[in-house]
């Protein structure tokens, strides 16, 4: 349930309500909005809602009917905006994260980072621990790969997102990454999600290939309830009977999740289609449908990529796509990558 305090509720009144709830075995998540304080209440204890609504300073008590609480719009009406350095995820600007599937060599990481930066990406993506379908495929360079990615990101003024596959990798990844990615295969790895809830690094949670939107939001709830409020979601295609694409990208998930939840929603058209020539149309559709960002695989030499070459874009294709997106975004009142020109202090 959600306890909405009155606009002028005093600290003592807020504290009395929190104490009342905690005594009854509930966890309280306090969020201070512009006008009023809202308390998100979760847990297995028993609380008399009528009693709470009569306490001093309480404006109203709402029941959250969805199984997920902290992730729901009822709990938090305004969009969550995650600030990482000078970028804001979930705001007016559509944030594009791009880069190779995996870090292969220093040259490859640097060349790709330079290319995606030039085109307007704000975040470098790349894996050092790779969850491959086959145990015989390239598994990633581990910490050496993380270092390559960090160096590449820093050299080109990009943030870094990388996949954490297992709780044991959180510590090492935290040394290098700005955002943790939880892959589709790990969406319901609840041990990992709980651990990430204790981390302070923002988390991007990919949708499982057979997960409903409700299950996906419940997974986000695991991270949120652990105390990490910087969670973003990423639609990356679900498994259907269709075989002409690797997965079926569920574009309709974007407006649905935006309605149900306050969390930023990304789309990964690379895994969503698995085919390089289908990435651009799906990226355009995602932006038009209201996605807060994109996660796109770009490789400086896709034909020789060690993994996911068939779905990785050439740098020139990615540049063209970004130019198209800069025209589409204004139609729905948003922008993409306007900052490189403003950074030099250009005002009037």
């Amino acid at each position: 349930m959600v306890v909405v305090m009155k606009e002028r509720a005093s600290d003592a009144e807020v504290q009395a309500v929190i104490a009342h709830l905690v005594e009854r075995g509930m966890d309280v998540h306090r969020s201070s909005g512009a006008a009023r304080i809202v308390l998100g209440v979760v847990g297995s204890g028993t609380v008399d809602r009528a009693l709470v609504s009569l306490m001093e300073g309480v404006h109203e008590v709402l029941r959250i009917t969805e199984p997920y609480k902290l992730a729901s719009r009822t709990f938090k009406a305004e969009d969550t905006v995650i600030a990482i350095g000078d970028i804001r995820i979930g705001g007016d600007e559509v944030i594009v994260m791009a880069g190779p599937c995996s870090a292969e060599t220093e040259e490859q990481v640097h060349a790709t980072a330079a290319a995606v930066k030039r085109a307007g990406a704000k975040v470098l993506r790349g894996g050092a621990f790779k969850p491959r379908s086959s145990p015989y495929s390239f598994q990633g360079h581990g910490e050496a790969g993380l270092k390559m990615l960090r160096d590449g990101a820093d050299a080109h003024d990009l943030k870094l997102i990388t996949e954490v596959m297992d709780s044991s990798q959180i510590e090492v990844c935290a040394k290098y990454a700005d955002i943790f990615q939880v892959g589709a295969r790990n969406m319901q790895n609840f041990t990992l999600l709980r651990e990430l809830g204790r981390a302070r690094t923002p988390v991007m949670l990919k949708r499982g290939i057979a997960a409903t939107i409700e299950e996906w939001l419940l997974s986000a709830e695991y991270v949120l309830s652990g105390g990490n409020s910087n969670v973003m979601l990423c639609e990356r295609g679900i498994r259907t009977f269709e075989t002409s694409t690797r997965n079926t990208l569920d574009v309709s998930a974007i407006p649905i999740v935006k309605e149900l939840s306050h969390l930023p929603v990304f789309v990964d058209p690379s895994h969503g289609t698995g085919r390089r020539d289908k990435v651009a149309p799906m990226a355009r559709a995602a932006v038009a449908a209201g996605a807060d960002g994109l996660l796109i695989e770009v490789h400086n030499d896709p034909d020789h990529a060690w993994s996911d070459g068939a779905q990785s874009m050439f740098p020139a294709q990615f540049e063209r796509l970004m130019a198209e997106l800069r025209i589409i975004a204004p139609a729905i009142g948003r922008s993409i990558c306007l900052e490189p020109l403003a950074r030099r202090g250009w005002a009037r």
């Binding site: 800069r326 025209i327 975004a329 204004p330 139609a331 009142g333 922008s335 306007l338 490189p340 020109l341 403003a342 250009w346």
Partner: protein, 113 residues
């Protein structure tokens, strides 16, 4: 379409279109600004009459395929203003770099407009 929509609805559509036009003009101005930086670095002049002519020819061609109420001269008049502003941005950018001390600036600033 126009005959069935109310004036209020059409005005709302115009407001929405204007917002997109302003955002796109902003994008265009930023591109012009980035080109200005390259011109300064390479010591190229801000005013390039051949390029301006090709921009006007391009928009005239695109407009012709639409067959709308704006004729070729009208679209050219509108874009002449857009180009004026782009040139102004590039001239200011070239002048600003004086502070940074770029060596080739003096050679380029005089040639705008």
């Amino acid at each position: 379409m126009a005959a069935e929509l109310s004036v209020e609805a059409l005005r709302a559509e115009i407001d929405q279109i204007d917002e997109v036009i302003v955002r796109l003009l902003d994008s265009r101005a930023r591109c012009a600004y980035a080109i200005g930086r390259v011109k300064r670095r390479e010591g190229k002049p801000v005013y390039e009459p051949a390029r301006e002519a090709s921009v006007l020819a391009h928009v005239r061609d695109v407009n012709q395929t639409l067959g709308g109420p704006l004729d070729g001269e009208a679209i050219v008049r509108l874009f002449e203003r857009v180009i004026d502003e782009a040139r102004r941005i590039q001239r200011l950018e070239a002048a600003r770099s004086d502070e940074v001390g770029a060596g080739n600036v003096a050679a380029t600033t005089g040639q705008g407009e």
